[in-house]
Amino acid sequence: MNTVAIKPVAATAGAASGNHAPKVVSQGVKVFYGEKEALHGVDLDINEREVTALIGPSGCGKSTYLRCLNRMNDVVEGCRVEGSIKIDGDDIYDRRIDVVQLRARVGMVFQKPNPFPKSIYENVAYGPRIHGIAQGKNELDEIVESSLTRAGLWKEVKDRLDKPGTGLSGGQQQRLCIARAIAVSPEVILMDEPCSALDPIATARIEELIDELRENYTIVIVTHSMQQAARVSQRTAFFHLGDLVEYGDTSQIFTNPKEERTQAYITGRFG
């Protein structure tokens, strides 16, 4: 079972800033790949309806942490998670948790666009269908349209919904994946370097989209681009070698970091 380390809230993970309540509360999160410890106890609170950026050099554990939030690590052989992660007060590593429901509440967008090799419509409709969200075809059509609209893709694809999703451009595919994620009405959306395979224009489009989605969703985004973190996020967490080094308001992290290592990383002295 998970050992819940009862610790005082870590200093770096300063309590909710402004008027946003924490949606996700993680305490002492350790992740092991076999014997190897990839995260050494991360305490991090993620605020509701904000964009939280995770930055840090390659291999520091950003993806690992992100994948803890929807228990995607469960399918990695030999991966073990310790500590506690609570979403709206529920420990998601509790035995009684239904992982399927959890993943419906915590959607994910991956680094490489990965639409199903099915039609655009089917890509978006798949989630609602397996969760029985829509009553009948009309409602499903509505969900598909509104998801695609919110992902900013509707105008481009409304005449070719039955064409394969894999036939879209990279940026369109990534927006399709975002539409697919929001079609099941998640509360949290996890994005692991969603723009790393995209050109600057498609990237700008996605960043705009993230900014719009912030109205309704809690977003956690991993990025290697300092500029992107600065542009889209309200809070930024800096990871290094499996530790959460510093966490705070994005403006503060980028203008006035408290930690030496953060300073070094954002000014490009390592990474």
Binding site: M72, V100, R103, G107, M108, F110, P117, Y126, G127, A181
Partner: protein, 440 residues
């Protein structure tokens, strides 16, 4: 950021600029080596193609004759008194009637043979032993013919057939020939009268076993093979896919699964005769299943095909990109949903291709079938897979062992037909792969 700052070693930095116009000798020898290598490859392919062509040409040249059979036109008086004594026309009487007598009378009249017994015997030898069956079929299909004199085409005997096809030397001394001078004269007369000629040999495809080559066909073997393929499909495919899905998706990686994996791979390499022995011991001796039954043959072939299906299925499941699984898991699909909605559909073309190739191998397999009594003389079609039958390759094996000249050409024809089935199956596999080939 850091990629551009790859350190350059001193050696790399200090090397003199390379000249493009190189030592001519070295270039020439390199090109020569390439040409030689290409020539070896072409020679190897030509070697293979040569033998393949040889095989096909021999088979076609030898087997082509079997597609035709010498038939005789006789004006048979379908005498009501012989066929339906007392005017009773029903199936039982018609089946039991003496058609041979009718045919022999017609033949005697045609050839003008008197009452000399030796002559008669020689005349009758021109007719196939199964000719009465052919006439029976005609009459039973249309009983209104009874009482009339109708022209019918019936098979000539194998000796006549070989003579017509020019496979018997006419200039041998009479006592070394199977046909005597008088018989040859009759044959020539019949040919001249347009009463004896080669016609399409439908019997080859529909008839069952017969010791008379002109009556022997592959019908029972084809049906037996089809039943077996059906059994293979119905057992090896579901069992193989289930095993592969379990091993790929559910089984933990440990010593046991490693052991199972090694054994499956070994199973694929086990000589087929061993499977025959296994089938004999288990299905026949232990479970007491019927001998010569396609269901047993099918089960034995399933055992052989199973590892092929498992290996193909595992390979195609592995080929499904992890990003698709992650995508499905990410929207909250359960493990079962990931497998049934995404993994299996994407793996299906590969699974089917593997299955078809495995079945094609099973179709041509002979050795295990010999052990479970498929070498059988079966005249009647098997109504169910539990009835005795043979299989195509076993039929070939049996015909190849028969001494008559007419069986030689039938053997080649049967091989051609088996090859045609195999080519169709393999082509289906290739098409399937082409059609569903995906790129991610």
């Amino acid at each position: 950021m850091t990629d551009s700052a790859l350190p350059m070693t001193a050696a790399m930095a200090n090397r003199a600029p390379r000249k493009l116009v190189l030592n001519e000798k070295r270039v020439r020898s390199r090109y020569a080596a390439e040409r030689r290598f290409r020539a070896y490859g072409i020679a190897a392919i030509a070697f293979g193609l040569f033998f393949l062509a040889w095989l096909f040409v021999t088979l076609v040249v030898q087997g082509y004759g079997a597609l035709q059979q010498s038939k005789m036109r006789l004006d048979v008086n379908l005498d009501a008194a012989t066929l339906a004594p007392g005017g009773k026309v029903d199936d039982t009487t018609l089946r039991a009637a003496d058609y041979t007598a009718l045919l022999r009378t017609a033949l005697r009249d045609t050839l003008g043979v008197g009452s000399d017994r030796a002559q008669r015997r020689e005349a009758y030898a021109l007719l196939s032993n199964g000719a009465d069956n052919e006439l029976r079929r005609i009459v039973m299909a249309d009983p209104t013919l009874i009482g009339k004199t109708v022209p019918v085409w019936v098979s000539a005997s194998a000796d006549v057939d070989t003579l017509i096809k020019g496979q018997i030397a006419r200039d041998l001394p009479e006592n070394q020939r199977r046909l005597k001078d008088r018989q040859i004269a009759w044959v020539d007369k019949l040919v001249a009268d347009n009463r004896l000629k080669k016609r399409f040999n439908g019997a080859l495809f529909v008839n069952g076993a017969s010791s008379d080559p002109e009556q022997a066909g592959m019908g029972v073997a084809i049906i037996g093979s089809m039943y077996m393929m059906l059994v293979v499909l119905l057992t090896a495919l579901p069992v193989g896919v289930a095993a592969a899905v379990y091993l790929e998706e559910f089984a933990a990686r440990n010593r046991w699964t490693d052991l199972i994996e090694v054994n499956i791979n070994n199973l694929a390499a086990v000589p087929s005769i061993v499977f025959g022995l296994l089938g004999l011991a288990i299905f026949l001796n232990f479970f007491g299943m019927p001998r010569s039954a396609p269901v047993v043959g099918g089960l034995v072939l399933s055992l052989m095909t199973l590892p092929v299906v498992i290996i193909a299925t595992r390979a195609s499941i592995k080929a499904v990109p992890p990003s698709i699984r992650e995508a499905a898991l990410g929207v909250g699909a359960s493990k079962m949903q990931v497998i049934t909605h995404h993994v299996l559909p994407l793996a299906l073309p590969g699974i089917l291709t593997g299955t078809i190739i495995g079945m094609a191998r099973a179709l041509g397999e002979t050795a295990p079938l010999l052990l479970i009594g498929m070498v059988a003389f079966v005249v009647a079609y098997p109504a169910t897979p539990f009835d005795p039958a043979t299989a195509l390759p076993v039929q070939i094996y049996m015909w190849a062992g028969a001494p008559e000249r007419s069986f030689v050409e039938r053997t080649s024809a049967a091989i051609l037909i088996l090859l045609a089935f195999l080519i169709v199956m393999n082509a289906a596999a290739v098409l399937l792969r082409r059609r569903f080939e995906r790129r991610w």
